[in-house]
Symmetry: C2
Subunit: 704 residues, 2 copies
């Protein structure tokens, strides 16, 4: 067992309130920050009033100066200033549907465009200064001079509630978060056309009008009809749309659209609905015809392309891509002259993000967890060969912004003992200077801070390491026995334990420590940053392996003399709500109290893209769906379980929770319930305080 | 203070379960019953197998005998046998959409008609043996021989989701419960046509299909567009429809359609939307034209016609009607030759129901509470003058069935000490013989039974008597202090305290007594059986006077040494859910725990007919709506309040509860919640057990 402890000297004055941790007071107790941005290769600091050159301290551009250039004020905070051109003194800001670009040397207004009030999905291309946007299902392009064109499909303009142009598709899975993709020169626009007319609508009720109203949300459930996506390319010069001649089935996935630097080829990652056969296909942007299949990747469980190609700035024929093909997410160099793939990084660790390139050293900059699965550190790797160079500290969780030429990064990180550190570093040497080392704002504010540790236990296979965070109650006395709460998420594409400040402690855990609870958080198999086998162990049986790992955590807790085995609770949201309900119903002898938020209850009510990746369809995997459905487990409920959901949750639709209630009623078991009207999958803003007051009260009522 | 105590000797063996009181075991612990019916003037007993002459003990007709007459079995229990003709040996039964009439002397089948599967609102007329029914919004008539006609409106057949022929209208207010009314000879059919196309739809979600589905329920909210009703008269002989030429506004109310014995006149009680101006209007059934306004009744608060005219069997020109015009509901004789009205009953008590007439003695038989507001006794009053004659016991709550000639009643009653008594009585002498005196089934089953008493306190006006029921905990010790729960309804047209068995005890109260709670139930002003001033004290401010009366009850409770003033809870459903939530928020210092079921939260979300009667419209009474809205009181919540609602409640729509939750969330208060998917305003069947387990647990968690 690996054990890393963080002891904070307790100079106790006061306890956290929820308002301190997540409410209106939270900003006062965050660690100090330094807000940075790049103007090309000039590192800058932003404040509400201005952007300053970090090296010279000189003002680059102020809000006052910016607004003076305009007939009507457009900038309200310099934190929103952006510098789209590395080599031009142009600053950009957005306010609502208005976008303004100003030359901050001359004071001339470069562009001042206001989109229609109902416009959505604005996508600005610095190269051409065109903005794409959608309006009532249709797609438009507007120039910096305000000239507007409608992107039409063979002259038709059939955007509607059912047909959506230019929006995100596939419910934001596969790294998709938008629906328009400008070519490098900004003269062509690739876009999605989504037809969801064949997808049933989930009825959501808005209670806020005079009389409640229904609104429909097309929600493709696992095994049911999925929506159909096409890809078009609109040429602004010819005002002509070409449609890619996609092969495969109508409900295949088309992800990570990647423009070749010359704008003549579009690469699309195509995936069958079963998600186990992925092809990277090259299309002519002139004809829409398929040029070739660049590569294919199959997996007996699933392939999940989450990242587009990144072309080398110095070689238009080569791109870096990411793949889990060797069992861990790594970088590969793809030579598009011969479609050869060369592995760049390797090892039993994962690349967490591709940051960019240092053009001068011909290196790729990436984030990875080679030194510890809980970390996210910065590395540079020369494409000419050699070993990765560590940039900055080999600890903590880093976020970086790369300069235009890739020779420097602005690196912000925290580690278990460091609240925040901001640094300007060379990507060649990995060295540089510190710009901010934030003091411990919790200590400064006089809060009593619990002891927070991280370690690992073995899963029941005897070999897999499972990392946990433990938060001991304030005033911990090892002779006492404490009520203990497991916080859990447990689903894919997420983790809870990381080497950031306080090991990634969530505010509520600190709060519960002040109330005398021991908190325990363990990342089970299925969670991210651990490689493909770790993640895919859950395939076709979501919740099963995850629960076994959480029960390994319980066994560890029970081995500790200060954990009261008769007072173990569990709380989680979303996948964690599924886990919480599952644990309460599958291990009623272990868990006395649970609070499940926005839970999945039966995967057949979850959506096609995510659901079928991990569970296949209900038709193909009936035994897996039956085994993992909590409807069948409702009868086992013994402890106190409160389910909380957003009344308008579009992600885990209310049918989950309501079906579970009905199953409990039929079985004579008694869950508790709460709902937040008008809220979605997660509570917003101040409702977080109300929610956590509620969650806390439940444990105080029944676990203490 | 009047105090009437009922002491039950406690020979304790076992405690009630909820299953005993309201679940699958409840039938075993009900008091013994004798099921009775009349064949003309022959009193009969029904059993599952047969109908027997109660005087001779001879079998009149058996299920076996009935079914032998038919090609396919139609009767399953003789409890469903009816005798539509006093002077013919014909027995009728219904099974699903099939109705069969058999001559039980000859064995001949008189009629055997099966309506279409989707038919609704079947209305059989013994005189003509026609059955009216509705199908997908339209209205049909079918003869005993199966000849079917569609009732059309000037040849049109526009029944739909929005246009409904032949159904109940005005949301079953004003005593309306159906939409077809046969003329005495069964050759003409008066019917409602309901147009609800202008009424917004409340969206209800059905969670039981594969993907949840919305269904709409036209729900006219107070102050909003109401539906529009017309009255047609269809002549089966001519197959022609005549429409009444109604005066007044399109959203007026047309209630209590009453046929003149000769079928040439239809009397309609018409009420303006403001419900303070009622006219009884006579129409020609031949032309549909108004003949005259028979009478008019106005009230500065509201008039509420709930009963049709009852014509004297021996004089086609006179009818008995009911009115609260002198402050109490009484009987009046209406002479339609000159439209003169003569008061028949009078006094500070109410007629609770008109039963019928004794043709021989020229008397009217009615139920009234002259001897005690909590009772419902049977009286006969000669129309020739004189004083009412008491029929049967002057105690308890009676239900009666009158013989065809009105000379006898089958009277079933219970009183505080008598579980059930069934009697055959002369309506002339008021005397007769007892047929059943049921033993105490609770004692027989060995249950420990709490002490149940009833008494009265004064309201805060110093004069008004308010009646209560008190249930002392099992094993009551006056030296101890008990947690106390007020059960409340409090709305109009209802009462909780009555002189029936155990003073009207509800099963849950007995259950809570076994758990050590003292239960207290008080009928506040606004409830029924007490006269107009008592009922109308709540006008334009529902909840205000009602709460003051409940707080008078609390003051009385606090004067009792064995009531723990620090542990007072409250529970109620519907109007009682409104009262519970209101009391929790208006008197947070008094009530520690509450459970509110299907509550009204703001009367603007309630429907037009009921809502505007008591509150006027939100436009006309903004201060009243504001004052009584619990949305504004959500911030005051301190104690533990659980709200429970049927997830598909069409009466108190979920917008009530959800709006309250939202107000609480905004205000930072913390109610609790539960909902029953698929259920309406009240839980059905076995869900009552789950519900009351839930309610009980909440008090056990927080009040004990």
């Amino acid at each position: 067992m690996v054990m890393m402890a963080l002891c904070v000297s307790v100079s106790a004055q006061k306890d956290f309130t929820l308002d301190d941790l997540m409410g209106s007071n939270a900003y006062n107790v965050y660690p100090k920050n330094l807000y940075t941005t790049w103007w090309g290769n000039v590192p800058c600091e932003t404040t509400p009033d201005e952007v300053k050159n970090l090296l010279t301290g000189e003002t680059l551009v102020s809000v006052e100066q910016f607004n003076k250039c305009l007939p009507e004020k457009a900038a309200y905070s310099a934190h929103n200033f952006q510098f789209p051109y590395p080599d031009q003194p142009i600053v950009q800001t957005e306010k609502g549907n208005r976008r303004v670009l100003v030359n901050f040397k001359t004071g001339l207004v470069v562009a001042d465009v206001t989109l229609p009030q109902e416009a959505r999905n604005a996508d600005f291309c610095p190269a051409s200064q065109y903005t794409a946007f959608t309006l009532q299902g249709n797609l438009y392009v507007i120039s910096a001079k305000g000239e507007q064109q409608q992107v039409s499909h063979d002259g038709s303009t059939d955007g509607s509630e059912n047909i959506l142009y230019g929006t995100s598709v596939h419910r934001d899975e596969f790294g998709i978060y938008k629906g328009t993709f400008w070519s490098p020169d900004g003269q062509q626009l690739a876009f999605y056309r989504l037809d969801q007319s064949m997808v049933p609508s989930y009825p959501q009720v808005d209670i806020f009008p005079r009389i409640s109203q229904v609104y429909v949300d097309h929600y493709p459930m696992a095994g049911e009809k999925s929506h159909e996506v096409k890809v078009g390319i609109y040429d602004v010069r010819t005002q002509r749309t070409v449609w890619l001649e996609l092969e495969g089935a109508a409900d295949d996935y088309h992800t990570n659209l990647s423009w070749a630097p010359d704008g003549r080829t579009l690469y699309v990652f195509e995936l069958n609905r079963d998600q186990n056969d992925m092809r990277l296909v090259a299309y002519s942007t002139e004809t829409g015809k398929k040029l070739r299949t660049v590569l294919q990747e199959r997996d007996e469980k699933y392939v999940e392309p989450c990242n587009p190609l990144s072309f080398l700035p110095w070689d238009d024929t080569k791109a870096v891509m990411q793949s889990q093909r060797d069992g861990y997410n790594h970088l590969y160099l793809l030579d598009l002259k011969n479609d050869q793939v060369t592995q760049l990084t390797r090892g039993e660790w994962v690349v967490q993000d591709l940051v960019g390139f240092n053009t001068k050293t011909r290196s790729v900059i990436y984030l990875g967890n080679e030194s510890d699965p809980r970390r996210r550190c910065v590395y540079s790797l020369s494409l000419k060969g050699g070993k990765p160079v560590l940039i900055g500290e080999e600890d903590g969780v880093h976020s970086v912004k790369l300069s235009a030429d890739g020779q420097q990064v602005l690196d912000t990180y925290s580690s278990p003992t460091i609240p925040r550190s901001v640094n300007l570093l060379s990507t060649k040497t990995g060295k540089g200077k510190n710009l901010l080392l934030a003091p411990d704002s919790w200590k400064e504010n006089g809060f009593r801070i619990p002891e927070i540790t991280s370690g690992s236990i073995k899963a029941d296979d005897g070999t897999t390491d499972l990392y946990y965070r433990m938060v001991k109650p304030i005033g911990f006395d090892p002779q006492k026995k404490y009520p203990t709460i497991i916080y859990v998420y447990g689903g894919p594409h997420a983790h809870n334990v990381q080497a950031s400040w306080h090991w990634g402690l969530r505010g509520w855990e600190a709060y519960m420590a002040t109330k005398g609870y021991l908190m325990f958080i363990l990342d089970n198999r299925g969670s991210e940053w651990r490689g493909k086998a770790f993640e895919q162990a859950t395939f076709r049986q979501l919740g099963e392996v995850e629960m076994r790992d959480q029960m390994s955590g319980v066994a560890y807790l029970k081995s500790l003399p200060y954990v009261d085995a008769d007072r173990i609770g569990v709380h989680g949201w979303s996948f964690g709500g599924f886990m919480t309900t599952n644990l309460m119903c599958s291990h009623p002898e272990t868990f006395k109290v649970g609070v499940a938020g926005g839970p999945v209850i039966d995967w057949k009510y979850y959506e096609v893209m995510y659901g079928e990746r991990y569970m296949d369809t209900p038709q193909a995997n009936p035994e897996g769906y039956a085994k993992t459905s909590l409807l069948h487990k409702a009868k086992n409920l013994k402890g106190r379980l409160q389910i909380i959901y957003g009344h308008n949750d579009p992600t885990c639709v209310p049918q989950h929770t309501l079906s579970f209630l009905n199953a409990c009623i039929d079985a004579g078991t008694q869950p508790d319930l709460f709902t937040y009207p008008g809220e979605g999958h997660n509570m917003r803003g101040i409702k977080q305080v109300h929610l956590h007051e509620r969650i806390t009260r439940y444990f105080e009522d029944y676990l203490k």
